[in-house]
Amino acid sequence: MLAVYQRLLRLYPAEHRKFFGEEMLAVLREESDENADKRLFTRSRFFVREIAGLVTGALREHFRVWLEIQEELSFVTGRVAMRNGFRFPKTTIVFMTLILACVVTAIKRGEDIAASVPNVNPPLPIHIQPVHSILLGGIPLLFAFFYAAGLIGWAILFALRRSGVHRLADMSGERQ
């Protein structure tokens, strides 16, 4: 258990590990000793709780470091810097959805009108797929593909400690 915990501690930012690492291990050692003679169920629950707490704690710490870097950047470079706050207005999502719904409805109405006036236009020799079906089918698929590719790429960089967060952390360390 302690060996697993020690390895998982590496998930934390280096600075947190240096400050709290040994102390956290000491606390866990005391807890493990206390739970050693308890039932399997109690020990399993303890193990799961500790591992979950460690993983979520590590994520939270990375997020905190990331926020600190953002704040430092905004302080150093002034107006052009990335800010801490979420600048994308939430109402935009509503409007974008409304616009998409309007476009799809307009296309559908157009098709209905075309269907209600038969034989005005001669049938085309080739079949053209309606635009909205291409939009609705293709875009989410493309989005999911690129999102997954980006996520995998980021995970690899993160594992190699070469992600933007790590680089910025190194930069801020050098500056200090």
């Binding site: 102390e23 707490g53 704690g57």
Partner: protein, 118 residues
Amino acid sequence: MTLDDMSLEGIMETLPLTEPVLLILLSLAGQPQHGYSILKDVERMSAGRVVLSTGTLYGALRRLLDDDWIERFEEEESPRGRQAYRLTAQGRRNLQAEIDRMKHITRLATLRVATKES
């Protein structure tokens, strides 16, 4: 706006505290404690309802240290130089503000419920 008003405003922004943080602060209110004794004290105070993991405890301690609500020091009588934590003056003030807030809500709730029942 006076300085006192400004500091009170700062405190009010951080309230209400989450239950684990409140229990950690209460644990340190009596005497300085080290990590393991805080975990056990929190469990005891909440009658086993709040059981903190080590990761959660040290996340909370980290934030409280950053905000100067608590401070860390080396225990003198500990053989391995174990680290302990204690409340700062600011931490004690903030804890008191939270307790006052809870007292006010409890008083209000008691009054409202009593009025409704009668």
